[in-house]
């Protein structure tokens, strides 16, 4: 009896060591683009008006990701693109240089496309790009800053324009969207069904037996809401320091906290077994965000939001600590 057991266990031991015997792939640089808009200068307000927390979101998330990249011994280049106040005069915004290309940090659609084009020239296969957006949104749409009073082309379509602009960018890509209805940009998976989108039994079978095949998404999306509005929240009552509900939880997941100002702690709460992944951030946000995930007949809520990310078999490792 012993011999067959040994013969059966031997291949297990050999096979199981795949991750342990192979050298880790080279980790490159991290690039971050953090976009925040308050819409104070926009004629378009989407019926919602001025946003108070979006610039805090972008600035503090930039600090948080830089801190985690440092802990992971990775070099990070970060760019803040923003729109703040009531001016449309771009000359009041500083220039940022990507490679050798100077780009205005004003968060207009044209400037963002230029920035992504410049990043495509310098990002290598082993690098990692994070883009975060904090502003108004609609169904698969982000609302960028206008370049003039006459400009009405301020909507950036996520699937058609943003993801297309990212196609020439090599390396791994993560897009974090904290805006209303942002989860509607997350494409359906070829291999799994979203439980947030209430699949029918036939959806399960159709997905399994469909011809489409799964591939690791070229751009991973991580969004504030599945298909509802995204809300802002005051960090402490009376503090007048506002954040997006999603981003506030995300900052905490990355080790950030607020006392008199924003600071980074020594631990990364979203770290699980030495890695920070999209799933570990998602799980943290889901558990710790200040609003309920959904409204139900038993727990009705006028304000709720449910984070969303791509389905499928693979989780994206952001940092190994």
């Amino acid at each position: 009896m012993k011999r067959p057991i040994i013969f059966l266990l031997l291949p297990i031991l050999l096979l199981a060591s795949c991750e342990l015997v192979q050298d880790q792939p080279l980790q490159g640089k991290v690039y971050g683009v953090f976009i925040g808009l308050d819409y104070d200068n926009a004629t378009w307000h989407g019926g919602e008006g001025f946003l108070e927390g979006t610039l805090n979101d972008a600035r503090e998330l930039k600090t948080a990701f830089q801190h985690v990249a440092e802990l992971a011994d990775l070099q990070m280049d970060s760019y803040l693109m923003y729109q703040e106040g009531d001016t449309k005069d771009q000359s009041t915004y500083e220039m940022i240089t990507v490679g050798e290309t100077p780009i205005r940090s004003y968060a207009s659609k044209a400037n963002l496309v230029s920035l992504l084009g410049a990043l495509a020239n310098i990002i290598e296969e082993e690098d990692f790009l994070i883009i975060t957006y904090h502003g108004h949104g609609g169904e698969d749409v982000l609302v960028m800053a206008p370049e003039s009073d006459a400009e009405d082309n301020i909507e950036l379509k996520v699937a058609e324009e943003l993801l297309n602009a990212l196609t020439p960018v090599k390396g791994r890509k993560l897009v974090i969207l904290d805006s209303c209805y942002s989860g509607m940009s997350v494409p359906p998976s070829e291999s799994s069904v979203s439980l947030i989108r209430s699949p029918s039994i036939s959806d399960w079978f159709n997905t399994y037996f469909s011809d489409g095949s799964y591939a690791i998404p070229p751009v991973t999306l991580f969004t504030a809401t599945a298909d509802s509005k995204a809300w802002e929240y005051e960090v402490k009552v009376g503090s007048n320091h506002i954040h997006g509900v999603f981003t506030l939880a995300l900052l905490e997941a990355l080790g950030g906290y607020h006392d008199d100002t924003f600071r980074m702690g020594d631990t990364i709460p979203a770290e699980k077994n030495g890695v920070v992944t999209v799933d570990s951030l998602y799980a943290y946000v889901k558990e710790h965000q200040k609003l309920p995930l959904r409204t139900t007949i038993y727990r009705p809520a006028s304000r709720y939001q449910h984070p969303m990310t791509n389905g499928g078999a693979m989780d994206f490792i952001l940092f190994t600590l």
Binding site: L15, I196, T207, A215, A313, D315, I317
Partner: protein, 183 residues
């Protein structure tokens, strides 16, 4: 397609009541879960741990063989972190049918198959899968109404984007719920 399935299930349910030999079993087997991707990945396969619990409420046993319907629960951990990605962990609930054939007083061969619904542990996405399993069973302890066996199951998990091979070592407890004695 549906009729033979319904008839088989009815037969499985009615046989124990009609002829005795009714058995109930529970089993647990931890195993290594190797995910072989159908898509482009950094590794030829990813390694996770799998804990499988099987409850067979309705089983029927004769002198040499047994058959039963099984309810399977499994918990697969995320794979070991390597490179830029890792395989997501998930939990699984499945229904299946199990057969076994006694080679002698101690050894038996078994096979099972079925379908499962699976939910990723961290995110709210789910998927369907089918499994087939084969293995050896060795009876360690035997009383008139119970049996304890060691099992060595090899499972193939057929997912849309992954074929997973699971090899483990576990325990299986068999009861005679009516106290008539095991055959």
């Amino acid at each position: 397609m549906k009729k033979p399935l319904v008839l088989s299930l009815l037969l499985l349910l009615t046989l124990p009541i009609a002829g005795g030999g009714f058995i109930t079993t529970i089993s647990y087997s931890p195993s290594v879960y190797l995910s072989i991707p159908h898509f482009e990945d950094e590794l030829p396969f990813r390694t996770s741990m799998n804990n499988t619990f099987i409850f067979e409420p309705f089983g029927y046993e004769t002198e040499h063989w047994s058959v039963g319907t099984s309810l399977k629960g499994a918990f697969v951990t995320p794979s070991l972190p390597w490179g830029n990605y890792r395989a997501r962990g998930f939990s699984s609930l499945g229904l299946g049918v199990r057969f076994s054939y006694d080679l002698d007083e101690r050894f038996a061969l078994f096979g099972s198959g079925g379908m499962a619904i699976n939910r990723y542990t961290a995110i709210e996405w789910a998927f369907l899968s089918f499994w087939a399993e084969a293995g050896i069973e060795y009876t360690i302890l035997e009383t008139p109404n119970t049996e304890l066996s060691a099992i060595l199951p090899i499972t193939v998990d057929l997912r849309k984007e992954i074929t997973a091979l699971s090899i483990g070592l576990g325990l299986r407890c068999l009861f005679d719920p009516y106290g008539g004695g095991l055959i």
